[in-house]
């Protein structure tokens, strides 16, 4: 199967690279690790399809990258979304977290374990 280059078809670097649905570039792996470390699945579900929090596979079709970053870093306290600007890991990897979730939302990255493209 061919690799998918995700995100906008702008001149800049692709948001993520994925092969066979579960092999991704090293930055997107970092995004996935950040997702796990922050236990995001407790609210958004192991497959990003939502639990008590919204389904991110849908939200990422609507939110801009900036809106996504603002939401994650500053939280939406009234809805129970924590602010993650206190986490070094999130702050450093926010672009990669976005890339991972965008890949899930685009349907290019499959749910579950990811590995790095060798």
């Amino acid at each position: 199967m061919l690799g998918t280059i995700g995100g906008t078809r702008a001149a800049d670097a692709p948001l993520y690279t994925v092969v066979d649905g579960n092999k991704v570039d090293s930055n997107t792996i970092k995004g996935w690790h950040t997702w796990r470390a922050m236990a995001c699945e407790r609210c958004h579900g192991a497959n990003q399809e939502g639990l008590v929090g919204p389904a991110l596979v849908d939200s990422l079709k609507v939110l801009t990258k900036e809106q996504f970053k603002t939401t994650v870093l500053l939280g939406r306290m009234e809805k129970g979304m924590p602010n993650f600007n206190g986490s070094k890991q999130v702050v450093e990897n926010i672009d990669f977290l976005y890339a991972f979730l965008k890949g899930r939302s685009d349907g290019a990255i499959k749910p579950g374990r990811l590995e790095e493209i060798k």
């Binding site: 236990a39 192991a46 924590p82 993650f84």
Partner: protein
């Protein structure tokens, strides 16, 4: 050996708004629980039995039960615990924002309403929904343990604050979901936050002043755990022996005990004759076992402590070095039953790990430990000499280290039973237990600690235990022999507290929202669909000669949080038909108390 260092500072936190006229060594709570017209404690009595002597509603007429009145809390999210009834007043609580209503039973008018001001920043550090397991009552005061760790005493007549004290710090992930418990002149409370690297403890306060009397940590140095290396006993090689020096410190590497978990968010019981308080501690932090080598004492432990000093008389660790999140917080039910033909004063505890433990509650000796769901597989049994589970290496999440997905572990992290409390009927001698029938895949991974951020380190997927697809059972358990007497399958986990009565009727609720009445043999007598899924606990009381049954519905909690949960394809072949995802087809959010009675006038 007492911990007085915290005593120095209590006044900085306690806001004294009234001065008690006198301080007695005891409150009226014991007398109130002896009158079965009341439901004065969350569990009905000190022994955590959830049994009522009332028998107007019995196995012949339960089929005629009908709704007497209803009451909305105006709050969504999970409604655990239940209301209290003292005399002519009912005290109803809600999840965050933790409202309390005093309702006049005469006309269901609201006498007073209390709504604390809490910072909503506490919501994200609550792991498993914004639940609260109810208020406590004694000496004309109502005690509320808010989510933000504020413990407040209210005047039961007016709802006015008498005193307040902070028992923890939400900034480091400390929250509170447990009901406070009143024994004699003390209010006992715990702490939640095992998923945030909190250090668990139980704290006792004076009911009149809010002054801290003692604080006992689950992990760390002996003095801070109120443990005496020589006097505190534990089951060792088939007999009781002292725990010895540094019994906790020796089982952690370095400073890990400081983030060690062992939280205390369950139900506590008390034996006045022995003056002992019983409770369990939760999981060690993190969920990634390879990050914390050792037995991680005293997480996952049954504690028996002196009520007046907090000193630990005996301890028993059920799941050393947890690899599955099998918190030990479930209620300790005190019951005098026959064990292997001998009458014993026991403590019975249905643990998350799938084993039901019967202990001698005065000495701490292990008497029985058996599976209460046949699918439990992470351990083949409990070694009665050591008290340790006999592990099946296949289901160890530690053996292969992080980033390996271990499949087919039974039970899930939810346990064979979570906090949903069981009931004991002295009349039948049996325990009626709401259970989960769910298995999981568990993948640990390395996490770093940041105060106030999740410190979990595992990813899980859950699915029904067998191809039959039912995710719960309501069972009758014989704790003397360690055998299931009968088991009634339920579509979803049974996440509601049970009630047994002298009328030979046992009640429980389901996640679809049914309250059900069964007879002592598990035969269904009656059911009613309440407005939402039930994770609250059924209770009963009598007013003006008429017996009532009440239950809070309002889906949520860890079971209900998965309303929209998807399942991974990896569970194919286990007959998973959508698991908890199915729940969305049955129920929606919303907190309502529904009250039932028999038709006609009192005594009919």
């Amino acid at each position: 050996m007492s911990s007085r260092k915290s005593f120095r500072n209590w006044w900085q936190y306690a806001v004294l708004l009234a001065v008690p006229v006198f301080a007695s060594a005891s409150s009226d709570i014991e007398a109130l629980t002896k009158d079965s017209n009341n439901w004065a404690m969350q569990a009905g009595n000190f022994a955590n039995q959830r049994y009522s002597e009332l028998k107007q509603i019995n196995k012949s007429n339960a089929k005629n039960l009908q709704v007497a009145w209803t009451f909305s809390t105006g709050v969504l999210r999970g409604h655990e615990g239940g209301p209290l009834v003292v005399g002519d007043t009912m005290y109803v609580h809600s999840p965050f924002p933790n409202k309390v209503f005093a309702v006049n039973l005469e006309d269901q008018k609201i006498k007073w309403k209390y709504e604390p001001k809490q910072d909503s920043a506490v919501i994200p550090v609550m792991c498993c929904d914004t639940v609260n397991r109810g208020v406590a009552y004694a000496d004309n005061k109502v005690f509320l343990q808010q989510a933000d760790t504020t413990l407040v005493a209210l005047d039961a007549k007016t709802g006015k604050e008498i005193w307040k004290v902070k028992v923890g710090d939400p900034k480091i992930g400390e929250t509170t979901t447990n009901a406070p418990h009143i024994f004699k002149d003390k209010v006992i409370t715990g702490i939640s936050g095992g998923e945030f690297g909190v250090r668990g403890r139980l704290t006792a306060y004076d009911i009149n002043t809010g002054k801290e009397v003692w604080k006992a940590y689950s992990t760390g140095p002996d003095a801070e755990m109120l443990m005496d290396p020589q006097k505190t006993m534990t089951w060792t090689d088939g007999k009781m022996a002292p725990v010895g020096k540094d019994s906790s410190l020796k089982t952690w590497s370095g400073d890990q005990w400081k983030l060690g978990g062992g939280t205390t968010w369950g139900w506590y019981s008390y034996d006045p004759a022995l003056n002992l308080v019983y409770y369990g501690s939760g999981n060690p932090s993190t969920w990634n076992p390879s990050q914390r080598p050792g037995d991680n004492k005293w997480s996952m432990t049954i504690f028996a402590r002196d009520l007046d000093t907090g000193e630990a008389k005996w301890v028993f660790q059920m799941t050393p070095h947890d690899e599955w999140d099998y918190d030990g917080v479930n209620e300790m039910i005190l019951a005098n039953i026959k064990v292997k033909g001998q009458q014993r004063k026991t403590l019975v505890h249905m643990d998350r790990n799938g084993f039901a433990y019967t202990m001698d509650r005065s000495s701490g000796e292990l008497l029985v430990a058996e599976k209460y769901d046949p699918t439990v597989n992470w351990a083949s049994g409990v070694d009665m000499k050591t008290g340790r589970p006999i592990l099946d290496a296949k289901y160890s999440t530690d053996r292969q280290g992080p980033d390996v997905n271990i499949k087919g572990i039974c039970p899930t992290a939810l346990g064979t039973k979570d906090q949903q409390p069981a009931s004991f009927s002295p009349k039948t001698g049996l325990f009626y237990v709401p259970t989960n029938h769910v298995c999981m895949d568990y993948e640990p991974f390395k996490v770093d600690y940041t105060a106030g951020q999740p410190y979990v380190g595992a990813t899980l997927s859950m699915y029904p235990a067998t191809a039959k697809g039912n995710m719960g059972n309501f069972i009758a358990w014989d704790a003397g022999t360690g055998k299931i007497v009968w088991s009634k399958p339920e579509r979803f986990s049974v996440w509601s507290g049970a009630l047994s009565t002298a009328g030979d009727v046992v009640f429980y609720g389901t996640l679809e929202g049914y309250i059900k009445a069964v007879d002592n043999n598990g035969k269904e007598l009656w059911r009613f669909k309440t407005p939402s899924g039930i994770i609250g606990n059924v209770h009963t009381w009598s007013f003006k000669g008429k017996q009532y049954i009440g239950v809070l519905s309002g889906i949520g909690g860890w079971a209900g949080i998965g309303l929209a949960a998807g399942l991974e394809k990896s569970t194919d072949g286990l007959g998973a038909v959508g698991g908890y995802k199915d729940l969305a087809n049955y129920t929606e959010l919303g907190g309502v108390l529904t009250v039932f009675a028999l038709p006609g006038k009192a005594g009919v």
